[in-house]
Amino acid sequence: MTPLSRDALARMVALHLPEQGFVNLGIGAPTHVADYLPAGSGVILHSENGILNVGPKPAAGEEDWDLINAGKMPISLRSGGSYFDSSLSFAMMRGGHLDVAVLGAFQVSKNGDLANWTTGDNGSPPGIGGAIDLAVGAKSIWVMMDHVTKDGRSRIVERCGYPLTARGVVTRIFTNLCIIDVTEDGLAVRALLDGLAIEALRDRTEAPLRVMGDPLTIRQDGSVA
Protein backbone atom coordinates (compact mmCIF):
# COMPACT_ATOMS: atom_id res chain seq x y z
CA MET A 1 0.00 0.00 0.00
CA THR A 2 1.62 3.23 -1.22
CA PRO A 3 0.07 6.49 -0.06
CA LEU A 4 -1.16 8.73 -2.87
CA SER A 5 1.40 10.96 -4.49
CA ARG A 6 0.91 14.71 -4.16
CA ASP A 7 -0.25 14.81 -7.76
CA ALA A 8 -2.76 12.02 -7.24
CA LEU A 9 -4.10 13.73 -4.12
CA ALA A 10 -4.54 16.96 -6.08
CA ARG A 11 -6.30 15.01 -8.82
CA MET A 12 -8.61 13.34 -6.33
CA VAL A 13 -9.67 16.70 -4.94
CA ALA A 14 -10.11 18.14 -8.42
CA LEU A 15 -12.41 15.29 -9.44
CA HIS A 16 -14.67 16.03 -6.47
CA LEU A 17 -15.17 19.76 -7.06
CA PRO A 18 -18.75 20.60 -8.01
CA GLU A 19 -19.28 21.40 -11.68
CA GLN A 20 -19.52 25.13 -12.28
CA GLY A 21 -18.72 25.74 -8.64
CA PHE A 22 -16.91 28.81 -7.31
CA VAL A 23 -13.76 27.57 -5.65
CA ASN A 24 -10.77 29.05 -3.84
CA LEU A 25 -7.63 26.94 -3.77
CA GLY A 26 -5.45 27.91 -0.83
CA ILE A 27 -1.76 28.58 -1.20
CA GLY A 28 0.61 25.62 -1.27
CA ALA A 29 -0.58 22.15 -2.24
CA PRO A 30 -4.20 23.17 -2.96
CA THR A 31 -3.01 25.45 -5.77
CA HIS A 32 -2.01 22.34 -7.75
CA VAL A 33 -5.59 21.11 -7.79
CA ALA A 34 -6.11 23.55 -10.67
CA ASP A 35 -3.82 21.41 -12.86
CA TYR A 36 -6.21 18.47 -12.59
CA LEU A 37 -9.60 20.05 -13.19
CA PRO A 38 -11.45 17.97 -15.80
CA ALA A 39 -11.98 19.74 -19.11
CA GLY A 40 -15.45 21.21 -19.10
CA SER A 41 -15.79 21.15 -15.32
CA GLY A 42 -16.77 24.79 -15.50
CA VAL A 43 -15.22 25.37 -12.09
CA ILE A 44 -14.50 29.08 -11.57
CA LEU A 45 -11.46 29.81 -9.45
CA HIS A 46 -11.25 32.75 -7.07
CA SER A 47 -8.11 34.20 -5.57
CA GLU A 48 -8.48 36.42 -2.55
CA ASN A 49 -6.23 39.20 -3.83
CA GLY A 50 -9.10 40.20 -6.10
CA ILE A 51 -9.71 38.02 -9.12
CA LEU A 52 -12.39 35.64 -10.29
CA ASN A 53 -11.89 33.09 -13.06
CA VAL A 54 -8.20 32.50 -12.58
CA GLY A 55 -6.52 30.84 -15.55
CA PRO A 56 -3.34 28.82 -15.85
CA LYS A 57 0.11 30.19 -15.26
CA PRO A 58 1.42 32.05 -18.29
CA ALA A 59 4.23 30.80 -20.50
CA ALA A 60 7.75 31.69 -19.42
CA GLY A 61 8.46 35.27 -20.39
CA GLU A 62 4.75 36.15 -20.50
CA GLU A 63 4.42 36.84 -16.78
CA ASP A 64 2.61 40.01 -15.71
CA TRP A 65 3.46 40.84 -12.11
CA ASP A 66 0.24 42.82 -11.77
CA LEU A 67 -1.61 39.56 -12.44
CA ILE A 68 -0.82 37.18 -9.61
CA ASN A 69 -2.61 34.80 -7.28
CA ALA A 70 -2.72 34.69 -3.50
CA GLY A 71 0.55 32.76 -3.56
CA LYS A 72 2.05 35.74 -5.42
CA MET A 73 2.69 33.65 -8.53
CA PRO A 74 1.86 34.88 -12.05
CA ILE A 75 -1.43 33.61 -13.42
CA SER A 76 -3.76 34.47 -16.28
CA LEU A 77 -7.39 35.57 -16.49
CA ARG A 78 -9.92 33.41 -18.28
CA SER A 79 -12.54 34.93 -20.54
CA GLY A 80 -15.40 36.12 -18.34
CA GLY A 81 -13.08 36.86 -15.46
CA SER A 82 -13.06 40.02 -13.39
CA TYR A 83 -10.87 42.10 -11.09
CA PHE A 84 -12.07 43.74 -7.88
CA ASP A 85 -10.67 45.19 -4.69
CA SER A 86 -9.88 43.19 -1.56
CA SER A 87 -12.96 44.35 0.31
CA LEU A 88 -15.27 42.84 -2.31
CA SER A 89 -13.04 39.79 -2.54
CA PHE A 90 -13.27 39.08 1.17
CA ALA A 91 -16.99 39.88 1.10
CA MET A 92 -17.25 36.95 -1.32
CA MET A 93 -15.44 34.74 1.15
CA ARG A 94 -16.86 35.88 4.47
CA GLY A 95 -20.33 36.26 2.99
CA GLY A 96 -20.61 32.61 2.04
CA HIS A 97 -20.52 33.08 -1.73
CA LEU A 98 -17.79 30.51 -2.45
CA ASP A 99 -18.94 26.94 -2.86
CA VAL A 100 -15.69 25.35 -1.76
CA ALA A 101 -12.41 26.45 -0.24
CA VAL A 102 -9.64 23.88 -0.41
CA LEU A 103 -7.06 24.42 2.31
CA GLY A 104 -3.92 22.77 3.53
CA ALA A 105 -3.73 21.94 7.23
CA PHE A 106 -1.45 20.85 10.02
CA GLN A 107 -4.31 19.26 11.95
CA VAL A 108 -8.05 18.74 11.78
CA SER A 109 -10.01 17.65 14.85
CA LYS A 110 -12.90 15.22 14.96
CA ASN A 111 -15.39 18.08 15.11
CA GLY A 112 -13.86 19.96 12.19
CA ASP A 113 -11.60 22.39 14.02
CA LEU A 114 -8.87 23.57 11.69
CA ALA A 115 -5.24 24.36 12.52
CA ASN A 116 -3.39 25.52 9.45
CA TRP A 117 -1.64 28.78 10.10
CA THR A 118 1.13 28.17 12.62
CA THR A 119 2.70 25.36 14.55
CA GLY A 120 3.41 27.78 17.35
CA ASP A 121 6.11 30.17 18.32
CA ASN A 122 9.38 29.22 16.74
CA GLY A 123 10.88 32.69 16.68
CA SER A 124 9.74 33.37 13.13
CA PRO A 125 7.11 36.02 12.56
CA PRO A 126 3.65 34.48 12.25
CA GLY A 127 1.56 35.01 9.14
CA ILE A 128 -2.16 34.47 8.74
CA GLY A 129 -3.03 36.02 5.36
CA GLY A 130 -6.48 35.10 4.13
CA ALA A 131 -6.55 31.54 5.48
CA ILE A 132 -8.84 32.37 8.35
CA ASP A 133 -11.29 34.37 6.25
CA LEU A 134 -11.59 31.44 3.83
CA ALA A 135 -12.02 28.97 6.64
CA VAL A 136 -14.92 30.93 8.09
CA GLY A 137 -16.75 31.92 4.97
CA ALA A 138 -16.93 29.27 2.25
CA LYS A 139 -19.99 27.01 2.07
CA SER A 140 -17.78 23.91 2.20
CA ILE A 141 -14.31 23.79 3.67
CA TRP A 142 -12.20 20.97 2.34
CA VAL A 143 -8.80 20.12 3.72
CA MET A 144 -6.13 18.30 1.77
CA MET A 145 -3.07 17.01 3.59
CA ASP A 146 -0.89 14.01 4.26
CA HIS A 147 -2.68 11.68 6.64
CA VAL A 148 0.21 11.59 9.09
CA THR A 149 3.21 13.77 9.86
CA LYS A 150 6.71 12.93 8.70
CA ASP A 151 7.30 11.15 11.98
CA GLY A 152 4.09 9.18 11.70
CA ARG A 153 1.69 11.05 13.97
CA SER A 154 -1.92 11.45 12.94
CA ARG A 155 -2.98 14.86 11.65
CA ILE A 156 -6.61 13.92 12.29
CA VAL A 157 -6.89 14.39 16.00
CA GLU A 158 -9.20 14.42 18.98
CA ARG A 159 -8.34 18.04 19.61
CA CYS A 160 -5.91 20.29 17.76
CA GLY A 161 -2.63 20.91 19.55
CA TYR A 162 -1.68 23.80 17.29
CA PRO A 163 -3.29 27.25 17.43
CA LEU A 164 -6.69 27.16 15.77
CA THR A 165 -7.60 28.83 12.50
CA ALA A 166 -11.33 28.31 13.03
CA ARG A 167 -13.64 26.09 15.07
CA GLY A 168 -15.85 23.41 13.59
CA VAL A 169 -15.58 24.51 10.00
CA VAL A 170 -14.03 21.63 8.04
CA THR A 171 -16.60 19.62 6.12
CA ARG A 172 -14.39 17.12 4.27
CA ILE A 173 -10.82 15.86 4.57
CA PHE A 174 -8.81 14.48 1.65
CA THR A 175 -5.61 12.72 2.68
CA ASN A 176 -3.14 10.54 0.85
CA LEU A 177 -4.98 7.56 2.40
CA CYS A 178 -8.68 8.38 2.42
CA ILE A 179 -11.59 10.78 2.14
CA ILE A 180 -13.42 11.61 5.36
CA ASP A 181 -16.61 13.59 5.84
CA VAL A 182 -16.97 15.60 9.02
CA THR A 183 -20.52 14.94 10.15
CA GLU A 184 -22.55 15.77 13.23
CA ASP A 185 -21.98 12.18 14.32
CA GLY A 186 -18.21 12.42 13.91
CA LEU A 187 -15.76 11.49 11.18
CA ALA A 188 -17.12 9.20 8.48
CA VAL A 189 -14.83 7.41 6.01
CA ARG A 190 -16.18 7.92 2.53
CA ALA A 191 -13.35 6.44 0.48
CA LEU A 192 -10.28 4.37 1.25
CA LEU A 193 -7.03 3.83 -0.63
CA ASP A 194 -7.08 0.57 -2.58
CA GLY A 195 -5.49 -2.13 -0.46
CA LEU A 196 -5.77 -0.27 2.82
CA ALA A 197 -7.91 -1.96 5.46
CA ILE A 198 -10.10 0.24 7.61
CA GLU A 199 -8.34 -1.07 10.69
CA ALA A 200 -4.99 -0.01 9.22
CA LEU A 201 -6.44 3.44 8.64
CA ARG A 202 -7.70 3.56 12.21
CA ASP A 203 -4.19 2.67 13.40
CA ARG A 204 -2.92 5.80 11.67
CA THR A 205 -5.75 8.06 12.90
CA GLU A 206 -6.01 9.49 16.39
CA ALA A 207 -9.69 10.46 16.11
CA PRO A 208 -12.38 7.78 15.94
CA LEU A 209 -13.61 6.91 12.46
CA ARG A 210 -17.02 5.64 11.42
CA VAL A 211 -17.73 3.76 8.21
CA MET A 212 -21.05 4.10 6.46
CA GLY A 213 -21.74 1.14 4.15
CA ASP A 214 -18.86 0.21 1.89
CA PRO A 215 -16.31 2.97 1.46
CA LEU A 216 -15.39 3.78 -2.13
CA THR A 217 -11.99 2.73 -3.41
CA ILE A 218 -9.28 5.25 -4.17
CA ARG A 219 -6.91 4.23 -6.97
CA GLN A 220 -3.28 5.26 -7.16
CA ASP A 221 -4.07 7.89 -9.80
CA GLY A 222 -6.50 9.63 -7.44
CA SER A 223 -9.66 8.47 -9.15
CA VAL A 224 -12.36 7.00 -6.93
CA ALA A 225 -14.73 4.18 -7.75
Binding site: G42, I44, H46, L52, S82, Y83, A91, G95
Partner: protein, 220 residues
Protein backbone atom coordinates in the same frame (compact mmCIF):
# COMPACT_ATOMS: atom_id res chain seq x y z
CA UNK B 1 -19.84 26.48 -18.98
CA UNK B 2 -21.99 28.28 -16.43
CA UNK B 3 -24.99 29.99 -17.99
CA UNK B 4 -27.43 31.85 -15.78
CA UNK B 5 -29.60 33.37 -18.48
CA UNK B 6 -33.30 32.68 -18.03
CA UNK B 7 -36.14 33.31 -20.45
CA UNK B 8 -37.96 36.20 -18.84
CA UNK B 9 -39.02 37.91 -15.64
CA UNK B 10 -41.39 35.09 -14.75
CA UNK B 11 -38.46 32.65 -14.74
CA UNK B 12 -36.36 35.12 -12.77
CA UNK B 13 -38.85 35.19 -9.89
CA UNK B 14 -39.40 31.41 -9.86
CA UNK B 15 -39.58 30.09 -6.31
CA UNK B 16 -40.69 33.26 -4.59
CA UNK B 17 -43.31 32.52 -1.97
CA UNK B 18 -45.60 34.14 0.57
CA UNK B 19 -43.73 35.78 3.43
CA UNK B 20 -40.41 36.11 1.59
CA UNK B 21 -38.05 39.02 2.09
CA UNK B 22 -37.26 40.76 -1.19
CA UNK B 23 -34.71 43.44 -2.02
CA UNK B 24 -35.58 45.67 -4.96
CA UNK B 25 -32.86 47.84 -6.46
CA UNK B 26 -33.38 51.37 -7.58
CA UNK B 27 -33.45 54.96 -6.53
CA UNK B 28 -36.60 56.32 -8.02
CA UNK B 29 -36.99 54.61 -11.37
CA UNK B 30 -33.24 54.27 -12.02
CA UNK B 31 -32.18 50.73 -11.18
CA UNK B 32 -35.68 49.41 -10.58
CA UNK B 33 -36.23 46.07 -12.36
CA UNK B 34 -39.64 46.82 -13.75
CA UNK B 35 -40.18 43.43 -15.32
CA UNK B 36 -39.68 41.88 -11.91
CA UNK B 37 -42.22 44.23 -10.35
CA UNK B 38 -44.85 42.83 -12.65
CA UNK B 39 -43.70 39.21 -12.57
CA UNK B 40 -43.91 39.14 -8.78
CA UNK B 41 -47.46 40.52 -9.00
CA UNK B 42 -48.32 37.82 -11.51
CA UNK B 43 -47.09 35.14 -9.09
CA UNK B 44 -49.76 36.19 -6.63
CA UNK B 45 -47.47 36.06 -3.58
CA UNK B 46 -48.40 37.98 -0.43
CA UNK B 47 -47.00 39.16 2.91
CA UNK B 48 -43.68 40.20 1.44
CA UNK B 49 -41.07 42.11 3.39
CA UNK B 50 -39.72 44.64 0.92
CA UNK B 51 -36.27 46.20 1.27
CA UNK B 52 -36.05 49.14 -1.08
CA UNK B 53 -35.07 52.79 -1.04
CA UNK B 54 -38.53 53.98 -2.02
CA UNK B 55 -42.12 52.80 -1.91
CA UNK B 56 -42.96 53.75 -5.47
CA UNK B 57 -44.42 56.95 -6.76
CA UNK B 58 -46.13 56.38 -10.08
CA UNK B 59 -48.68 53.81 -11.17
CA UNK B 60 -45.96 51.92 -12.96
CA UNK B 61 -43.49 50.99 -10.23
CA UNK B 62 -43.48 49.57 -6.67
CA UNK B 63 -46.75 51.41 -6.15
CA UNK B 64 -48.31 48.42 -7.87
CA UNK B 65 -47.27 46.18 -4.99
CA UNK B 66 -48.93 48.45 -2.45
CA UNK B 67 -52.00 48.80 -4.59
CA UNK B 68 -52.21 45.00 -4.72
CA UNK B 69 -51.48 44.83 -0.96
CA UNK B 70 -48.77 42.18 -1.25
CA UNK B 71 -46.32 43.95 1.08
CA UNK B 72 -46.58 43.34 4.83
CA UNK B 73 -43.55 45.41 5.79
CA UNK B 74 -41.18 47.79 4.07
CA UNK B 75 -37.62 48.60 5.13
CA UNK B 76 -36.95 51.84 3.39
CA UNK B 77 -35.38 55.31 3.60
CA UNK B 78 -37.80 57.50 1.69
CA UNK B 79 -41.40 56.34 1.23
CA UNK B 80 -42.68 59.87 0.59
CA UNK B 81 -44.73 60.67 -2.51
CA UNK B 82 -45.98 57.08 -2.57
CA UNK B 83 -49.74 57.34 -2.74
CA UNK B 84 -50.76 53.70 -2.30
CA UNK B 85 -48.19 53.09 0.41
CA UNK B 86 -49.32 56.22 2.25
CA UNK B 87 -52.93 55.07 2.28
CA UNK B 88 -52.01 51.74 3.79
CA UNK B 89 -49.58 53.37 6.21
CA UNK B 90 -52.36 55.61 7.50
CA UNK B 91 -54.72 52.64 7.69
CA UNK B 92 -52.09 50.71 9.67
CA UNK B 93 -52.12 47.80 7.24
CA UNK B 94 -48.44 48.00 6.35
CA UNK B 95 -45.43 48.16 8.65
CA UNK B 96 -42.64 50.69 8.03
CA UNK B 97 -39.04 50.41 9.23
CA UNK B 98 -37.53 53.77 8.32
CA UNK B 99 -33.74 53.62 7.85
CA UNK B 100 -31.38 56.42 6.83
CA UNK B 101 -30.29 55.80 3.26
CA UNK B 102 -26.60 55.26 3.97
CA UNK B 103 -27.40 52.97 6.88
CA UNK B 104 -29.79 51.02 4.66
CA UNK B 105 -27.18 50.31 2.04
CA UNK B 106 -24.49 49.59 4.63
CA UNK B 107 -26.78 47.07 6.37
CA UNK B 108 -27.34 45.39 3.02
CA UNK B 109 -23.61 45.34 2.40
CA UNK B 110 -23.03 43.82 5.85
CA UNK B 111 -25.50 41.09 4.96
CA UNK B 112 -23.74 40.29 1.72
CA UNK B 113 -20.29 40.50 3.26
CA UNK B 114 -20.97 38.15 6.17
CA UNK B 115 -20.60 40.75 8.91
CA UNK B 116 -22.65 40.66 12.09
CA UNK B 117 -23.27 44.40 12.01
CA UNK B 118 -21.44 47.71 12.23
CA UNK B 119 -21.12 50.74 14.43
CA UNK B 120 -22.64 53.83 12.86
CA UNK B 121 -22.43 57.47 13.93
CA UNK B 122 -25.59 58.16 11.91
CA UNK B 123 -28.67 58.65 14.06
CA UNK B 124 -26.94 59.06 17.41
CA UNK B 125 -29.07 61.32 19.60
CA UNK B 126 -32.13 60.96 17.37
CA UNK B 127 -35.17 58.71 17.13
CA UNK B 128 -33.13 56.52 14.79
CA UNK B 129 -31.16 55.35 17.82
CA UNK B 130 -34.28 54.22 19.70
CA UNK B 131 -34.18 50.58 20.69
CA UNK B 132 -30.69 50.02 19.31
CA UNK B 133 -27.60 49.03 21.22
CA UNK B 134 -25.17 51.92 21.88
CA UNK B 135 -21.46 51.19 21.82
CA UNK B 136 -18.79 53.72 22.80
CA UNK B 137 -15.43 53.53 21.06
CA UNK B 138 -12.68 55.94 22.04
CA UNK B 139 -15.22 58.12 23.83
CA UNK B 140 -17.51 58.46 20.80
CA UNK B 141 -20.97 56.95 20.78
CA UNK B 142 -22.13 54.71 17.96
CA UNK B 143 -25.26 52.73 17.18
CA UNK B 144 -25.01 49.02 16.46
CA UNK B 145 -26.74 48.44 13.13
CA UNK B 146 -27.57 44.89 12.05
CA UNK B 147 -27.22 43.26 8.63
CA UNK B 148 -30.06 42.80 6.17
CA UNK B 149 -30.50 39.61 4.17
CA UNK B 150 -33.16 38.63 1.66
CA UNK B 151 -34.59 35.53 0.07
CA UNK B 152 -34.45 37.32 -3.27
CA UNK B 153 -32.55 40.36 -4.49
CA UNK B 154 -33.81 41.80 -7.77
CA UNK B 155 -31.83 44.54 -9.46
CA UNK B 156 -31.58 46.26 -12.79
CA UNK B 157 -28.26 46.05 -14.64
CA UNK B 158 -27.14 47.40 -17.98
CA UNK B 159 -25.21 44.51 -19.54
CA UNK B 160 -24.68 40.97 -18.31
CA UNK B 161 -22.73 38.14 -19.86
CA UNK B 162 -24.05 34.60 -19.77
CA UNK B 163 -21.82 33.74 -16.79
CA UNK B 164 -23.63 36.42 -14.80
CA UNK B 165 -21.13 39.28 -14.74
CA UNK B 166 -22.98 42.60 -14.60
CA UNK B 167 -22.43 46.28 -15.37
CA UNK B 168 -24.83 49.10 -14.57
CA UNK B 169 -25.84 52.30 -16.34
CA UNK B 170 -24.92 55.65 -14.78
CA UNK B 171 -26.75 56.41 -11.52
CA UNK B 172 -28.88 53.29 -11.92
CA UNK B 173 -26.04 51.48 -10.15
CA UNK B 174 -27.16 52.96 -6.77
CA UNK B 175 -28.25 50.20 -4.36
CA UNK B 176 -28.26 47.53 -7.08
CA UNK B 177 -24.61 46.56 -6.86
CA UNK B 178 -24.84 46.10 -3.10
CA UNK B 179 -28.17 44.28 -3.11
CA UNK B 180 -26.72 41.90 -5.69
CA UNK B 181 -24.41 40.60 -2.94
CA UNK B 182 -27.09 40.06 -0.33
CA UNK B 183 -29.88 37.88 -1.69
CA UNK B 184 -30.04 34.13 -1.29
CA UNK B 185 -31.16 34.20 -4.91
CA UNK B 186 -30.02 37.16 -7.00
CA UNK B 187 -31.73 37.93 -10.31
CA UNK B 188 -30.70 40.74 -12.60
CA UNK B 189 -32.85 42.37 -15.26
CA UNK B 190 -30.58 43.85 -17.93
CA UNK B 191 -30.87 45.86 -21.08
CA UNK B 192 -28.89 43.27 -23.00
CA UNK B 193 -27.20 39.92 -22.54
CA UNK B 194 -23.75 39.72 -24.10
CA UNK B 195 -21.24 36.96 -24.73
CA UNK B 196 -18.63 35.87 -22.25
CA UNK B 197 -15.58 37.99 -22.93
CA UNK B 198 -17.51 41.04 -24.10
CA UNK B 199 -17.25 42.84 -20.76
CA UNK B 200 -14.05 44.58 -19.64
CA UNK B 201 -12.74 42.63 -16.60
CA UNK B 202 -11.74 45.95 -15.01
CA UNK B 203 -15.22 47.42 -15.41
CA UNK B 204 -17.40 44.55 -14.21
CA UNK B 205 -19.16 45.85 -11.12
CA UNK B 206 -20.92 42.68 -9.96
CA UNK B 207 -18.79 39.59 -10.56
CA UNK B 208 -20.76 36.50 -11.56
CA UNK B 209 -20.27 34.73 -8.23
CA UNK B 210 -23.09 36.83 -6.81
CA UNK B 211 -25.56 36.31 -9.63
CA UNK B 212 -27.98 33.38 -9.98
CA UNK B 213 -30.26 34.54 -12.81
CA UNK B 214 -30.09 37.06 -15.62
CA UNK B 215 -32.75 38.04 -18.11
CA UNK B 216 -33.03 40.68 -20.80
CA UNK B 217 -35.65 43.36 -20.25
CA UNK B 218 -38.51 42.94 -22.62
CA UNK B 219 -38.58 45.54 -25.36
CA UNK B 220 -42.38 45.58 -25.29
Amino acid sequence: MRNVVVEDAAAAVEGIKDGDTVMMGGFGGAGLPLGVVKAVLDRGVRDLTLISNNAGSTEDDLSLWFEARIVRKIVCSYPRSAKHFAEQYRAGTVELELVPQGTLVERIRAGGAGLGGFLSPVGVGTVFADGKEKIVVDGREFILELPLHADFAFVKGHLADTLGNVTYNKTARNHCAVMATAGRTVAVEVDRVVNVGDLDPEAIVTPCIFVDRVFARSSR
